[in-house]
Amino acid sequence: MSTSRMRVVVAPLGAAFLLLLASSTDAVGQTCRDSDRLSKLVDASVQDVVADNDASLLESQWPVIVANAVALSVLDAELKETEAAVNRFQTAQAETARSDKQVGAGSGSTGTTTLVEKVGVPRLLALAIEHNAIQQESNGTSLTLRSTPYALWIFLAGRLDTPDEYQSAGPLPRLGLSANFALDEGENEAPGNLDFERFTSFESKYQLFGDRSPRSVAFQERWELEVQPAIKKELAQLGGLLADVFNKPSDGGPTGLPSAINAASDKALAELTKQFEKQLGNAPQAGTMTIAVLGRLEADICQPLRTGAIAMSDGERERIRTRARALYAAEYARSEARANFVDLVKQWNKQASGSLAYSLSRVDGGTDYSEGKFILEGNTDELFPHTTAGLELAANAQISFNHHTDDANDVDHVRDYGASFSVGRTIENVLTGRFDPQGMGRIGVSLNGDVKRLQTADDVLGSVQLKFTLPIYAGFELPLSFSWSSRTEEDSDDVFRVSVGSGLDTDKLEAFGTLAKGLFGAQL
């Protein structure tokens, strides 16, 4: 799900949430087994128990699970709907996060067989890969090893990669290194040795400015400003619920509920933990274990509360209901704050940055060469503080040198050079609202330039292009460009061209299809 779609989910849910809080209806009971909220809480703990092979992890949020089971017994229709709205929102958020990136298994995990291990790398290299000091990637014919001097230092010195180490390492974390090795078919099947005969290229890249890491001080400060206040409010309500459920009231009120809940909770946890310890040694099934916990909660907490076997006074009921209402509101606010922050992070990742890169390439039967490159990208207002044009800029320049010259074969010292730039922005679309009820996209305007050496003609080719991207209807764009080149590959005369193309925006087309379906229903 895209960011823009996520925002669409947030707004109506937010309105529904406020409406639900304002409504009030009769009391409705709910069993522990039926509760999505409880299932999710239990399932998270059980999955950790299985993944880490540690039954004691069931206790990591056991008080939260029990307190939520108690809160279920005081849910009226209003709170039930409120709780469901929070669940729906959090589920949508979790799905968005999953579609962005999957958390992969570490190289040290069991069951992963990597090419590096297959080709029999030296032990130190394998150890560095196992400790994530070096990352590996393979497409079947080549193997890439990536690292930073910082990660290597942390690994070799046996240090912990703490924020203090990261910040005191200065520029080291911003220097990236990578090396490519050729692999052949046989090596994927039979172990061999990774040696420098198979080395094909090396690249280093240093980020001059624009630290986009979530470990940067600026990221931390923004998180503390945008997200942490909402987390604090949520934790205060959750902690309050735990105290309401497990602690005797300080005002000297009835103590029957906390005593009964503590006894039932401790007994259930001890027995479930013992049961899980046995199951962990025998192909544990997380689903079965979750059902066992929910069944136990139903038998020991929810049902006794519904039938009155565990008595709850009117005062206790009202206190827990008030707390649950406040907790659900705080959870919603936290989820919303975090979703907004994730959007902010996406913008953050577009902030201005500049980097220098150096690469060395080996050429079979030819001359090895080195290449230097400068890359600049970001908004011009950020890059040049005294400007206000707000243009998106991307520019790079590169030059490469042959390691050996060969007059007989026309191999110069300078192998190649070139530079390119692109500046652009969007402007208001004059057609908005005239043809398209969904609203037209903005018009894109960009100026692109390119200079490169034509080795075959021993000349330089320069070109400039002015390009407009015109949204003309939902899902349809019309690119229009005017370009000039100093020459072509074949001809030394300059050329001026006007091009008109067509383009489809599939996202917008899909939105148009949905709209049309809504308007015309089954006729489509």
Partner: protein, 193 residues
């Protein structure tokens, strides 16, 4: 902006000693005998099952004490571990929780019952403290919320250490990893006297 390191105040934890890679990262002391405050030994980790006999709850599989651990060796430790997530504390005891982020920014938030806990440590190594003021039989629930992002390394984690002002030191009591499903563990401290 290019940074070239920063000055570290005397109060900040900076172990600069060289530890060769073949000894592995110096996280915690799992499965080793730890020197206690009162000069007694403590067994941590899975090797705890091989420690000499000691009083232990049925689900206690982590750190255990033997002998005297209180301040000045005058009695049992004031903070006693019942399980990894459950402790017994004396009234007026101050409990300190120290967080070490590994390969991740220090994005942690803490609360004790309904009170937010302020970070009394450095920004990079957060530390939280509360005083056991509940009546005996009641508990202090400390919730630690760790916030991971997609761009954090897959092996990033937070290490949690606990200690009591009058005794009881529990280094590396629990680790919350990015790959875990539960990023918000709850530690329960029951007031006993």
């Amino acid at each position: 902006m290019i940074g070239f390191g920063r000055h570290v105040s005397a109060g900040q934890s900076r172990n600069r000693g060289f530890r060769p890679f073949w000894r592995g990262p110096s996280v915690g002391n799992r499965g080793r005998v730890i020197e206690g405050v009162g000069g007694e030994n403590r067994y941590c980790g899975r090797s705890a099952s091989r420690a000499p006999p000691y009083p232990q709850s049925p689900i206690d599989t982590h750190c255990v004490f033997r002998g005297k651990m209180g301040a000045g060796g005058k009695g049992d430790p004031v903070v006693k571990q019942k399980t990894k997530f459950r402790y017994a504390v004396d009234r007026n005891e101050k409990v300190t929780i120290t967080i070490t982020p590994v390969s991740v920014g220090p994005r942690v938030t803490a609360s004790e019952n309904e009170e937010p806990l302020d970070n009394i440590g450095s920004q990079n190594k957060p530390k939280f403290r509360f005083e056991a003021t509940q009546v005996p039989g009641n508990s202090h629930f400390v919730i630690l919320d760790f916030d991971f992002f997609d761009d954090d390394a897959d092996d990033s984690l937070f290490q949690i250490d606990l200690s009591g002002s009058g005794g009881g030191n529990f280094p590396d009591v629990h680790r919350v990893k990015k790959t875990n499903k539960v990023h918000r563990p709850v530690f329960r401290f029951e007031v006993t006297a």
